[in-house]
């Protein structure tokens, strides 16, 4: 038909705008638990670097300190040297398995309560409420045209965002240097450039991720929800809307009019209004659900007001849901936590932990390392005797000076001296005092009589104090 050509319908946008979420304030048992966790996690994060721990005159007195400049990691009574980094690796393994364990036992509890993204998002949402008011006021303000009032509120809100973000970044660097000193240096422009850069980057990411990205981090960016969806099974605790009890939805009035035909859900929408990720839990388990359980608080409150039993929305497993749908009584959650997968994860997690504790308890606080010179492998001296040289490192991991004796074993007739003594004083032992928390290197020469053959020998380090302790290092003696 000429002239009446159909117009193509408008193409859908290739990019979807974020659906803004304005979660409503709610109180309840899980909300109070979230407050507690938030106080704990933020408190630990912000205050830990300020704890002091006396380690004597030779080590820093900050309880938790990652001293990159001196290659030391301090955590209360524990001091870790770089070669003991496996302790940190072990802790990371425990953290990884711990996440599996938590997921297996109580579902996405990490996401719902303890994840920094959740905690900071929660904090920022409280800032929103503090400045703009609760859900309805926030929505109204968002819809309102830009004017002096809106600009003022936005400026105030973003300033608080920025202050929190800055504080977050600022606390991070305190773990890497003496906190009081660094604070002073920071405000006097004397801290290292990396400190300012780190604060700037963390301020930026906190401001952006906590202030604006929020639930999008969980839904689009974070790999953990994807991994978890592979880990959840019919025995995992998830937030469940008990549709067999709630459907069909209807008002209390309708339920009173026709008893028996209307479910418990009054379709008040409070569960969706309080959701920090903006989902409707009544559509079932979904990737957006971080199991923060605020919808449980919301629904419990409504059920309470209506005089109906709580738990229309509640933590439940799929298995449980099937049982309850069939009419069985709800089971205690404690019964659900201890299934085999949880026990296996707990076993692995504790085994790694116990292994680390064992290593920590039995580790030596001294070490000896011997590296034989290979170029030249041996030397002829003018009297015909054969000399070998060794680079020897003595490590004192205690916070006090220690006196060590290095002795030569396994080669009769051989004597040794070091770079600070003389061949004339050669014997089979050397003593050295190693400064607290330090490594000492010395060059050791071993000489054997003319025509000596290649031989095995070992050097033994012995601490000459009450605590004692010995350690040996096997090496060899080369000869023509």
């Amino acid at each position: 038909m000429p002239g009446t050509e159909l117009k193509a319908p408008p193409r859908p946008s290739l990019y979807a705008k974020r659906k803004a979420v304005y979660p409503r304030q709610i109180d309840g048992r899980f909300r109070r638990f979230k407050w507690l966790i938030m106080a704990l996690t933020l408190g630990v994060y912000y205050l830990t670097p300020w704890l002091r721990w006396n380690r004597g005159p030779y080590a820093p007195n900050q309880a938790v300190l990652i001293d990159l400049a001196h290659r030391r990691f301090y955590m209360f009574a524990i001091e870790i040297w770089p070669q003991e980094f496996y302790f940190v690796a072990g802790l990371l393994i425990m953290a990884g398995i711990g996440l599996f364990l938590i997921t297996s036992a109580v579902g996405r509890a990490w996401c719902g309560y303890a994840c920094p993204q959740t905690v900071w998002t929660d904090l920022y949402q409280h800032v929103d409420r503090f400045i703009d008011g609760d859900r309805n006021a926030q929505m109204k303000l968002a819809a309102a045209p830009w004017g002096p009032a809106k600009i003022a509120r936005r400026a105030a809100k973003w300033t608080i965002y920025l202050v929190i973000a800055f504080w977050t970044g600022g606390a991070w660097i305190m773990y890497f240097a003496d906190a009081p000193t660094l604070t002073w240096d920071f405000w006097h422009g004397q801290a290292a450039p990396i400190a300012y850069a780190t604060v700037a980057v963390l301020t930026g990411t906190t401001f952006w991720l906590g202030g604006f990205m929020r639930e999008q981090v969980c839904i689009y960016m974070c790999p953990w929800p994807r991994i978890q969806s592979a880990m959840l099974d019919e025995k995992s605790l998830i937030v469940t809307y008990k549709d067999w009890r709630g459907e069909p939805r209807g008002s209390a009035k309708a339920a009173a009019a026709k008893p028996g035909t209307i479910g418990d859900c009054v379709d008040c929408g409070l569960c969706t209004a309080v959701c920090p990720t903006g989902i409707d839990i009544r559509e079932g388990s979904q990737i957006g659900c971080i199991t923060c359980a605020l919808c449980i608080d919301a629904c419990d409150r409504v059920m309470g007001q209506l005089g109906r039993p709580r738990g229309l929305i509640d933590y439940a497993t799929l298995e449980d849901s099937e049982r309850e749908r069939a009419g069985a009584a709800p089971r205690s959650h404690l019964q659900l936590i201890w299934h085999p997968r949880t026990l296996i994860y707990f076993g692995i997690w504790s085994a790694v932990g116990l292994g680390l504790l064992f290593l920590l308890g039995t580790r030596q606080h001294l070490a000896l390392n011997v590296s034989k010179d290979r170029n030249p492998p041996y030397m002829l001296l003018s009297d015909g005797s054969v000399r070998n040289a060794y680079a020897v490192r003595l490590r004192n991991m205690e916070g006090r000076p220690r006196r060590f004796e290095v002795s030569l074993q396994g080669m009769p007739g051989a004597v040794m001296w070091s770079d600070d003594s003389d061949r004339k004083a050669a014997t089979t032992t050397l003593t050295r005092t190693v400064a607290p928390d330090q490594t000492d290197s010395l060059r050791v020469y071993v000489a054997a009589p003319p025509h000596s053959q290649p031989h095995k020998l070992s050097l033994t380090l012995r601490a000459l104090d009450a605590e004692g302790g010995t350690i040996s290092y096997a090496t060899r003696f080369d000869a023509p």
């Binding site: 290739l14 990019y15 979807a16 999008q216 170029n375 030397m379 003018s382 003594s421």
Partner: protein, 303 residues
């Protein structure tokens, strides 16, 4: 455009294709993703303006920051030189024989000397300073010209038999055989005697004859006891170390046609601080001797 498919379960449009009943949803990307992409593009554009980026005939664009990798290297080298200058200045101000009194500076000098040795000395003396036939081993306790710091510094600065340096170490052993001073059998006798000095050979008629010849021809430089003379660079013949070999043939060869090894004078090639570093390093290899008299007991020997 007309056949628009909507997926029932999600209410999202599909791309319109179907594979064995499987359809692909045309879910729009979140907008922050687009914004991130745009931010990256802006970043790239700014980068292109600030840094060298676009290849052009005759070289890439320069960038407004003026950054080059060569420039960065030059700046880093300059910074390293500035760091090093502290040690160099200290070394320049310290006489070599006073170096042991400053263990920290000594340590730094040894480290610097180790690096310089690999560059300037390793070609002849070997990377481990163990030398080879004709090139002295610097690890041992035998020195032709002396092994204390001051002497080593002089040797390195002026070299050995190096033409062009007036103060170079100078000495010349006559080629006894070639120049007809000794006959071949006399050379063999002297060689036998010399070898007997370090117990490589037992006493014999030859060593007896050699002893007399030695006394007549060699003691002026090597000394009556054959222990050499460091001021002349005459080697000690009684020890176990032989620069040109200890076999009878090798010793006879050295007497017939004398060796006169040459080492460059490094004074004209390297600065004073580097020479001090090299001196400290060579001294630290295990054969270094204490400075005579002047030094007040370098380091207390520990039992």
């Amino acid at each position: 455009m007309a056949n628009k498919h909507i997926d029932e379960a999600t209410g999202t449009e599909t791309v319109g294709h179907e594979w064995d009943g499987i359809e692909e949803l045309n879910t729009p990307l979140p907008r922050w993703w687009l914004l991130t992409f745009i931010a990256c593009v802006i970043w790239a554009l700014v980068y292109v303006v600030l840094y060298p980026a676009v290849p052009m005939p005759g070289g890439a664009t320069q960038g407004t920051m003026g950054w080059t990798s060569r420039g960065q290297l030059a700046a880093e080298t300059k910074a390293a030189e500035a760091d090093r200058k502290v040690v160099v200045d200290q070394l320049n101000a310290t006489a070599i024989e006073n170096l042991p009194a400053n263990p920290d500076l000594m340590k730094k000098a040894i480290a610097g000397g180790k690096a310089a040795f690999r560059v300037h000395c390793a070609a002849c003396h070997g990377a481990g300073a163990a030398g080879s036939v004709g090139y002295p081993n610097l690890n041992d306790d035998d020195w032709l010209w002396g092994g204390d710091l001051k002497t080593l510094e002089t040797t390195i600065t002026h070299g050995i038999r190096y033409p062009g340096d007036a103060q170079t170490r100078q000495s010349l052993m006559p080629s006894f055989g070639r120049d007809g001073i000794l006959k071949a059998d006399q050379v063999a006798d002297v060689a036998a005697y010399v070898r007997s000095l370090s117990k490589l050979e037992g006493p014999s008629a030859a060593t007896g004859r050699g002893q007399a010849l030695f006394a007549a021809n060699c003691v002026a430089c090597h000394g009556a006891d054959g222990k050499g003379n460091r001021t002349l660079g005459a080697p000690n013949l009684t020890d176990a170390i032989w620069l040109y070999g200890s076999s009878s043939e090798q010793v006879q060869g050295s007497i017939t046609v004398a060796h006169a090894g040459v080492m460059p004078a490094w004074g004209g090639k390297l600065d004073g601080a580097t020479i001090k570093m090299l001196t400290a390093y060579v001294h630290s290899l295990g054969g270094g001797e204490a400075s005579p008299a002047a030094a007040p007991a370098a380091a207390p020997a520990k039992p």
